[in-house]
């Protein structure tokens, strides 16, 4: 790494500085668009006591499920955790603290963090268990809940293409939480499928400008499909 060249050549360098009890954001929706190699590296590093912010918790043997297997996650902030038996077990035993957050509120809390907004009001969750203990306020006759921004020590994201300066392009629905998380990490690490020299991406097509990205690593992706559905 030097200057504006964000490319690192090892996973060790990609996650340098990641230690126990940190807060991490991990991109993806289900198993779609997850930084597979960065998750594997966290398993190898054996970092523990993590607070993980991710829409889902993977499945038993893939995605964040791999960190759950090793009991590396202490607190999980997610919107839906249905696909993971191990998760259920650890949640019921109290080993794992779970903060369920409505999906849009989760995305906006992350977006707010990246955009320097400390908190925002949303109608989502008003009058539900999600609003318990939170400040509410009425605007134009409607009730809203105050939701604080969500920051992370590391944002671990997955993109399709990157250039050496960390400009990123996502593909299809593998974008999901990745573009917002890219903005909200103290250190943002992008694991990508393709890397090109700066200047080769059409600047009109860049989704995440390189200013948000600290490190880029080229990964190999299994891209496991959770629910393969085809035409009958």
């Amino acid at each position: 790494m030097s200057g504006l060249n964000k490319v690192v050549s090892s996973y060790q360098q990609a996650l340098a500085g990641l230690t126990d009890n940190m807060t991490i954001m991990v991109g993806g929706f289900g198993l779609c668009g997850i930084p597979e190699g960065l998750i594997a590296e966290m398993v190898r590093l054996q970092v523990r006591g993590l607070t993980a912010i991710s829409n889902n918790a993977g499945v038993d043997d893939f995605g964040l499920g791999l960190l759950l297997q090793q009991r590396q996650i202490r607190t999980m902030i997610a919107s839906y955790v249905g696909e993971n038996a191990l998760f259920e077990q650890q949640m019921l035993s109290g080993e794992l603290e779970v903060i369920l957050t409505p999906q849009g509120t989760l995305a906006e809390k992350i977006r707010a963090a990246g955009a320097g907004i400390p908190a925002f009001y949303t109608a989502t969750g008003y009058g539900t268990p999600v609003a318990h203990g939170k400040e509410t306020r009425e605007f134009n006759g409607r009730h809203y809940v105050l939701e604080p921004a969500l920051h992370a020590d590391f944002a671990l994201i997955k993109a399709w293409k990157a250039d050496t300066m960390g400009n990123l392009i996502y593909r299809n629905t593998a974008a999901n939480f990745n573009p917002v998380m890219a903005t909200a990490g103290k250190i943002t690490v992008a694991e990508v499928e393709q890397l090109v020299p700066a200047g080769e991406l059409d600047a009109n097509h860049v989704h995440t400008p390189g200013i948000y990205v600290d490190r880029v690593i080229v990964g190999q992706f299994e891209k496991r499909i959770e629910k393969r559905t085809v035409q009958p």
Binding site: C32, A123, N178
Partner: protein
């Protein structure tokens, strides 16, 4: 006769208008896509970041990077767009989606809905349901009118933890189409062969029935 799941989907599809952007939840709402009238054009929104969701792919077209909010592999139609989760929910929260169809455990006369959590059972999370009910301008809830023991799911006040507070105006059950207004359910249509008396007996919340209630065309 109570409506089948397919008939419920068919009835909901009659509410679609040419040019609508529509979000369909999991279960019966998903089936609505099979009954979109051929003479109108609608775009399906999938909250994981797709506007213009198409059919399931052929074996050759399966793409791990292209899934719906139920995590199933799908296709994108001509004119589709991809975007981040934050943009997706800005669309939803901002009231840009014309129609949202989703399931529920209970609704009440105030328009509150419970659909995500049964205390004592495992809680899997609300996903995008709370955002959808709070943000959509127009929501149709599809649900069974009563449980297996005949207990009404259309209540004076929801008993389960809420997904949304006072946000539902229309409910399609296997027995009836109802509007929620001024603290009551209003019977608009009944399933073919279902009597007003049966609907009354299975509706715990206040129900207002006009003297004539048309049968649905399904």
């Amino acid at each position: 006769m109570a409506l089948t799941r397919e008939q419920m989907a068919k009835r909901v599809a009659q509410e679609l208008k040419d040019g609508d952007y529509v979000n369909l939840g999991i279960g019966i709402p998903t089936l609505v896509a099979n009954y979109i009238p051929p003479n109108i054009q609608v775009m399906l929104q999938s909250e994981n970041g797709l506007l213009g969701m198409g059919a399931f792919p052929s074996e050759d077209d399966v793409d791990a990077d292209l899934i719906n909010a139920g995590k199933q592999t799908v296709t994108a139609v001509a004119g589709a767009a991809f975007f981040s989760s934050a943009d997706s929910f800005a669309m939803i929260r901002g009231g840009h989606v014309d129609l949202t169809v989703l399931g529920a455990f209970e609704v009440d006369v105030a328009g509150s809905i419970a659909s995500w959590m049964i205390p004592g059972k495992l809680v899997k999370g609300m996903g995008g349901a709370m955002d959808l009910v709070a943000g959509a301008r127009n929501i149709i809830v599809t649900m069974m009118h009563a449980d297996k023991d005949g207990n009404s799911k259309l209540l004076t006040q929801c008993q389960l933890p809420l997904t949304g507070y006072r946000c539902i105006q229309r409910v399609l059950t296997d027995l009836a189409l109802l509007k929620i207004e001024h603290g009551a359910f209003h019977l608009l249509e009944r399933a073919p062969g279902v009597t007003i008396e049966e609907i009354q007996s299975k509706t715990a919340g206040k129900l207002i029935c006009p003297s004539q209630v048309p049968e649905m065309n399904v």
